[in-house]
């Protein structure tokens, strides 16, 4: 199995580094997924993680979120260990994984009301506006099992609009989206970068975002 080549993004503005990963090593049973992986994620940056199937993209994303703790190395949040400031880190973090976190029996509004209120107070108007923005006007009150996979994905993306989180970790958010949806998500990500937030995203799409840097895993 090949190991990941350490590809450090060459970002000049080092003052506003949000997330700094150093010498990450992760092995699953017998297989080394990546080793000696270093990268920084600065404010205003969109970092696209690339790599072939099974190269550990999803694992890396989950490690950064704290969902997976079987790794070695250090990950620092604004220069400090994440464990020392877990509350601040988790309230600034928004993660959307392969499983988008949308309950099928609930309506989009009910889903968002819960998943957003885990982090911040949210009003129904905010949710309505966000749903309209992701193109789900008219679907607000229909249970999610009546929606298509792409529409369910859009429900989860509405959280990006509502949330004030400064760090977005998005694992394959484009897979079920149509071309309009892709353009919309790119726009939202760009807006986040301009507002001083940061995005980490895995996808095989080539993104047209000016703030883009690429991190390749083996």
């Amino acid at each position: 199995m090949s190991s990941a080549a350490p590809t450090t993004s060459s970002n000049s503005d080092t003052d506003n580094i949000m997330l700094a990963a150093r010498e990450l090593f992760c092995a699953r049973d017998d297989r080394v997924l990546f080793q000696n992986l270093n990268f920084d994620l600065a404010q205003g940056q969109v970092l696209q993680v690339q790599g072939s199937n099974g190269s550990g993209k999803t694992t890396l994303m989950r490690i950064l979120c704290g969902l997976n703790d079987s790794y070695e190395g250090s990950i620092k949040w604004f220069g400090q260990e994440i464990e020392d400031q877990a509350a601040s880190f988790f309230s600034s973090l928004l993660y959307i994984g392969h499983r988008v976190g949308v309950s099928k029996v609930l309506t989009p509004v009910e889903n968002l009301r819960w998943s957003c209120s885990l982090k911040q107070a949210v009003s129904d108007e905010q949710i309505m506006v966000a749903l309209r923005e992701v193109g789900l006007r008219g679907f607000e009150e229909s249970p999610c099992y009546t929606l298509s996979a792409g529409q369910q994905q859009r429900v989860s993306l509405a959280r990006l609009i509502i949330s004030p989180a400064s760090l977005w970790v998005l694992d394959e958010p484009f897979t079920t989206l149509d071309t309009k949806g892709v353009a919309m998500l790119e726009k939202i990500m760009q807006r986040q970068a301009q507002a001083g937030g940061a995005v980490m995203v895995t996808t095989h799409h080539s993104l047209s975002i000016p703030q883009l840097t690429i991190l390749s895993l083996g």
Partner: protein, 247 residues
């Protein structure tokens, strides 16, 4: 290519250290077990109440006493696995669960062989030791089946560690609640003889020797299994490959 960068130190260290200790442990085990068994079977005079069935007790008490050590052992291993993430602790815990189930089962079987003479019945719900041993066996089987159900070895290690900790607390609660339950159901209890009823000093010395022998056996068996586990899990590492070539 197969460079395995994880912390090799501790399993390798254990493998080498246990390799040095093993012959001595086996020798001690053989000596103690021979003395205990020969004494128990040939020399021990019959008990004034129990006759020759006191010979059952020598073995039964030794196995039963030792089987109480498994959950505390798994508790400690579980805490080490969860807090310090030491792989070795999980390897020990994995085989402790299996060996513990064996011990619990043999305790139950020998206990009922003794009971069939002394109580006139193979199974006695009013004996709290038997009942709580039965539930200890169930809990151990639960840990074993959880491990076999989980595919990812790291998840399995942590999950079983947590279940062992919960299980250990539970075994204690079960033990006391079953004892309590029994004090209330002992109206028609046939238990006139306790395994701990007075016996001659010879009996106690023989039992003590057997307890030491059984603990030695436990250590030997656990060490052997753990060494196998190390070889399997670390099979990619250089030192295991060197070791195999030397054999």
């Amino acid at each position: 290519m197969w460079v395995w960068f994880s912390k090799l130190g501790s399993p390798k260290w254990f493998y080498e250290l246990s390799g040095k200790w093993l012959p001595w442990l086996i020798a001690a085990m053989v000596i103690f077990m021979t003395i205990g068994l020969v004494w128990g079977l040939v020399f021990l005079p019959p008990d004034y109440q129990q006759g020759f069935t006191s010979r059952i007790l020598i073995v039964h008490v030794a196995v039963a006493g030792t089987s109480l050590a498994f959950f505390p052992l798994m508790l400690v291993a579980g805490i080490i696995t969860l807090v310090w993430r030491m792989k070795l602790a999980d390897m020990v815990a994995k085989h402790a669960a299996i060996l513990g189930a064996w011990f619990s089962f043999i305790t139950l079987a020998t206990g009922s062989l003794w009971g069939s003479v002394m109580w006139g019945t193979w199974w006695e719900w009013t004996d709290s030791r038997l009942v709580s041993m039965l539930f200890q066996l169930f809990l151990l089987l639960g840990v074993i089946s959880l491990r076999s159900a989980l595919e990812d070895s790291e998840t399995a290690a942590k999950a079983c560690a947590l279940l062992s900790i919960v299980g250990c607390i539970n075994v204690v609660i079960i033990k006391y609640s079953v004892e309590w339950w029994n004090t209330l159901h002992q109206v028609a209890s046939p238990v006139s003889l306790d395994p701990s009823s007075p016996n001659g000093p010879q009996f106690w010395i023989a039992t003590l020797i057997m307890i030491v022998a059984v603990y030695l056996f436990l250590s030997v068996s656990l060490i052997l299994s753990t060494r196998n586990e190390i070889l399997e899990r670390e099979r990619r590492s250089q030192w295991v490959q060197d070791l195999v070539l030397k054999n």
